[in-house]
Symmetry: C2
């Protein structure tokens, strides 16, 4: 079984974007503010948006199940206030839930949170619990920078975030640490801000004792961990200078990297440098990089090919990367699969 | 001949730090502001600080010449105003010049600029020209984020920066794109901010036509290019989506990566993915990561070992990385060496 832990609903019907545009317009002209119930998307429209896109690709590439969350770049937590994000998150999560109900063998949800810059994270708990309890979601996406590239929130190691961590531990769900659109002209969203956030989050954990306070807390750092595996020697050396325990002990019981690295040499490095127990298969397909690599003739984001070709991996390693690790990191997914005899 | 293109004067005598502390104290209590002439460091003190540190390591490791600039984390352009930075840059550059005069076979200078947040870059031209003309410096360090982690300056592709580029082209000097201390609690200076800046700078160039406006402008992106080589497929794919020319044409006539990547797998990836003509030897020794790697028994920053061991490189490749590329990217260095019969 092949589980892709990083999929977003990037192909939602256009009505969703239209609704959001009206919501944003409503921030300056309240008369335009739509009701949540104004959004109408039929099951057929949802089905088509998935069958012709993600599900088609999953079948072509041989992956079975995707952990599916709202489109990351559309979270745009910097827009409006908490109420703006609360309505938007609720709508987006519900669509992912409906996809998971229409295709229960192929999709399971992960929640976007209604974060808003400077607003205490505990305001997100109601949506988190609703998604776990009512929607059977198995994880959340946590945005370390709801300002969208201005980085005004405290580091992830700060007690500011602890109310979220307490709920994650209580419900046994991991967080993928995932920023959204950059509204800082310095940072291109998918070419700089995403990767920077991955590196930043790792280093925030490295310089803290977060996982001493939360020994069972789990973070998935996407996009292959940003710059981290490539600079693994640097991070080992920094940890040594900071006199933390070795990284394996200090962080690797709690931090996992996905495989959204879009060329063979990157995946080769990732799987060589990072212990195989800490690598989870992912493609973020139909995401940042949708084209075909002229050097291979295949889609850049067809990451399964790289993992299959990674010379240092054994078949047992691949089973961990494709399935075993995801079932361990997402225990609610494992339970849901087991309940269905998978 | 082995040229290390990335060295900072991290081991300057303590008197320098003391002077800077008084300068910073003077920002709130002007009575404490020191004169530049209050800083007294003898040639013997300079000599000792180099002989027992950088030069000793260079001899141990077999590198010949270091392009030497003021300590990056101490530039701290966010402190004070332009005048604060102007005095500080002038002092720091002069010390690097004196080192280059004391050890002319082993050190040549690169300038720190007196940048200050929000201040137009043309204010730095006088110091740039002084360093080139009077000190024989062969390059500059350009800080894309003088705010220190708040990223308030326009991207490097903006015309804001063009006056600097015009002077770089006129004097035929490259810039290493190097940030300084982060004063944003989200970003650890050497573990996040440095690497993020490298990735950010590359992407700022990718999304622009900067090198169409300045076909001979040259940037060295340090720390092995941040996350860029590890995600080379992602960047190739993003370039394709943005319909830029292929990266080789679009950026690699103008952008070069150093080898400050502190483990073998990272250097293996760098030298495999990035054309050998775009890789310059560097160690940033006695810098961010000073310890000994228990996995190898050698210093993390002894990058020569990794390059010597990189299996895909030929001897001709190594000559380019160690010497040829640096002489091409730093033409004033090449001329200075040629004048000395080297």
């Amino acid at each position: 079984m092949i589980i892709d832990c990083h999929g977003h609903y990037t192909t939602a019907p256009k009505a969703l974007e239209d609704w959001r545009s009206r919501q944003v317009a409503g921030l300056t002209d309240p008369a335009q503010t739509p009701q949540a119930s104004d959004l109408k998307i039929s099951d057929d429209a949802l089905r088509e948006s998935i069958e012709t896109n993600q599900l088609r690709r999953m079948k072509e590439r041989g992956s079975d199940l995707t952990i599916f969350s709202p489109r990351a770049s559309f979270m745009a937590h910097h827009i409006g206030d908490f109420q703006t994000s609360a309505t938007w998150a609720s709508i987006c999560n519900e669509l992912c839930y409906r996809v998971s109900q229409l295709f229960p063998d192929h999709f399971v949800g992960a929640a976007m949170l209604p974060q808003s810059p400077g607003v205490r994270p505990e305001t997100c708990i109601a949506e988190l619990e609703r998604c776990v309890r009512d929607y059977g979601f198995v994880g959340i996406n946590l945005n370390p920078d709801p300002s969208g590239g201005h980085w005004k929130e405290p580091p992830l190691s700060d007690r500011w975030w602890y109310p979220i961590y307490e709920k994650m531990v209580e419900h046994d769900i991991p967080a993928m640490i995932h920023v959204s659109t950059s509204c800082n002209a310095c940072f291109h969203t998918t070419g700089a801000h995403y990767l920077n956030a991955d590196t930043t989050a790792f280093m925030q954990c490295l310089t803290s004792n977060l996982f001493r306070d939360f020994p069972t807390l789990k973070f998935v750092i996407p996009h292959g961990g940003g710059a981290v595996p490539y600079h693994w020697g640097r991070f080992r050396g920094l940890a040594q200078e900071l006199k933390t325990p070795p990284l394996k002990e200090h962080l690797l019981r709690n931090i996992f990297f996905d495989t959204c690295v879009y060329h063979q040499p990157g995946i080769d490095l990732l799987t060589k440098v990072i212990p195989v127990d800490n690598v989870l298969f992912a493609s973020e397909m139909i995401g940042a990089v949708r084209g075909i690599d002229p050097e291979t003739g295949f889609h850049y984001d067809d990451t399964r090919r790289y993992i299959d070709a990674a010379a240092t991996l054994t078949d047992a390693d691949r089973r961990k990367i494709y399935e075993g690790n995801a079932r361990r990191v997402y225990p609610r997914l494992d339970a849901a699969l087991a309940a269905r005899g998978r």
